[in-house]
């Protein structure tokens, strides 16, 4: 069993509870041991990098320092924003020794830059789409018409995320295909959902989400699969406002890829947290005899 430092981040302990549950469950089933970093702190997200460059590096660097002190070589985070902020630390301090010294000056203990940061999607992609094939699917997602939504921070900037492609990424599409779903080609897959405006300027999110739901529905998608708690919250929780503004009711389920992976592995639906969506995901899965 491989052992990794696990950084859930704030969303996965709250609004994205089902992302945390399903990540832990599928990890267990695939022989990945996740050890939650003791006493981790918030990465600072967009408010930190919009306010202070140094703070935006120091907050995630404390988590990396804690993982490094505990002897971990790899930190895994399922959250697109958290993994991006932690990847930024490695990229920036390893390129600029002066900056590294400055970050270490504000940290309670030093971070030497020795912990690799991985997004959980990358890790699953290596396992499910690796050269050796994947023989653990017990319930193929037959007949499920899905589009994969990557958003921004998972993919860009590519120098930091090292993700497959900034405009047309396909790693999640390929995972879902291996699981047996019918993945539809969908160009808006990396067009921002409005992300951090969820509270500060919600009308911008409603506009973006309305557009994305429309473009998914038009091509016959039955669900939009995500790998980011902000994307999920915006797409799932703003459907009421979208209905009021655009006079269209989409009722589009927004599952995390980990939930669908769990379903394909035939894991217990309650343990995956499938009941926690605002737009219920279960009727769709029942209609395909998947749960």
């Amino acid at each position: 069993m491989s052992k990794y430092a696990y950084y859930p981040g704030c969303s996965l302990h709250a609004t994205a509870k089902e992302y945390d549950l399903s990540t832990r469950k599928v990890s267990q089933a695939l022989g990945i041991e996740l050890v939650e970093i003791d006493d981790w702190n918030c990465c600072g997200a967009t408010p930190a990098h919009s306010s202070s460059h140094l703070l935006s590096l120091a907050l995630p660097a404390r988590n990396l320092a804690r993982a490094e002190r505990s002897g971990f070589e790899v930190l895994v985070s399922p959250c697109a924003a958290c993994s991006s902020r932690h990847k930024f630390v490695n990229k920036e301090i390893n390129e600029d020794q002066e900056l590294k010294a400055k970050v270490n000056e504000v940290l309670p203990y030093p971070y030497n830059g020795g912990v690799e940061v991985k997004n959980f999607l990358d890790m699953i992609s290596e396992i499910v789409c690796g050269d050796n094939g994947f023989d653990k699917v017990k319930k193929p997602l037959k007949g499920l018409k899905a589009v994969c939504y990557y958003g921004c921070l998972l993919t860009r900037p590519v120098e930091v995320t090292e993700f497959d492609n900034p405009d047309n990424p396909t790693s999640m599409d390929k995972i879902l295909e291996v699981l047996g779903a019918e993945v539809l080609p969908w160009f808006p897959k990396t067009k921002c959902c409005g992300g951090s405006f969820a509270l500060g300027k919600v009308e911008l999110v409603v506009e973006r989400v309305g557009q994305l739901l429309k473009e998914a529905k038009e091509i016959g998608a039955e669900c939009i699969v995500v790998a980011c708690p902000m994307c999920q919250a915006n797409l799932d929780m703003r459907q009421g406002e979208v209905k009021r503004k655009f006079k269209t009711s989409y009722k589009m389920p927004i599952p995390y890829f980990t939930e669908l992976l769990g379903v394909a592995l035939s894991l217990d639906q309650n343990e995956l947290g499938l009941d926690k969506h605002m737009t219920d995901l279960r009727p769709l899965l029942r209609s395909k005899n998947l749960i």
Binding site: C10, S11, H13, A14, T15, A16, K17, D39, W40, N41, C42, G44, A45, T46, P47, A48, H49, S50, S51, S52, H53, L54, L55, A58, L59, R62, K102, E105, V106, L107, P108, G151, C152, L153, R156, P157, V158, P166, D167, T190, K191, C192, G194, G195, S196, F197, L199, G200, K201, V202, L204, E207, R208, M237, D275, K276, M278
Partner: protein
């Protein structure tokens, strides 16, 4: 404008370079950034105009624009720029300068307000506390009931906790904030 340390004139483009590390001088005003921008429709000036302001030493126009605040930070412009300008990073720097100089656009004041409350909560608890974020923002923006209807169902789904989690190493977080503030003046 004057460079305080040197007592000489410093162009805005150089100031931006100094703070962000990005040289906007290489921008050729092609507008590729605008083509991929999902927020262009709600900006007062599109991203090409913003880089134009930087090149033309129009600091006040850039820093008081609505555009820098409604930029979602999605990095599409950075990914596509044929001249390699990291515009997303420049936008971060412009936001920091805009707030520092008190030039935040009147229609965008809710965004730095949200950022401040978010950071204050991290300083208080070490982690995000979403009910606190929502209530704090609603209180200070005078929009008390916004999103309140979502609370009960989220609570029942185990997505909201009534009490915040405080981390053990909170003193370390406070010290990080204090030192950053000290170093940045």
């Amino acid at each position: 404008m004057q460079d305080a340390a040197l007592g000489t004139e410093i162009e805005f483009v150089d100031l931006v370079k100094k703070e962000s590390g990005v040289d906007v001088n290489v921008c050729m005003q092609c507008g590729t950034c605008v083509g991929g921008c999902v927020q262009e429709w709600t900006m007062d000036y599109n991203s090409r105009r913003i880089t134009g302001f930087i090149l033309n030493d129009q600091k006040k126009e850039a820093l008081s624009s609505k555009a820098i605040w409604v930029c979602a930070g999605c990095h599409t412009c950075t990914a596509r720029c044929p001249r390699g300008v990291d515009l997303a990073k420049v936008m971060d720097t412009l936001r920091i300068m805009s707030k520092r100089e008190g030039l935040v656009h009147k229609e965008a004041k809710g965004i730095p307000l949200f950022n401040d409350i978010f950071l204050k909560l991290i300083k208080t608890f070490g982690r995000m506390y979403e009910p606190g974020l929502l209530m704090g923002h609603n209180l200070l923006s005078g929009n008390l009931l916004k999103d309140m209807e979502k609370g009960p169902s989220m609570f029942l789904k185990g997505k909201l906790s009534l009490l915040p989690t405080k981390i053990k190493g909170l003193d370390e977080i406070k010290e990080i904030f204090r030192k950053v503030e000290e170093m940045e003046g």
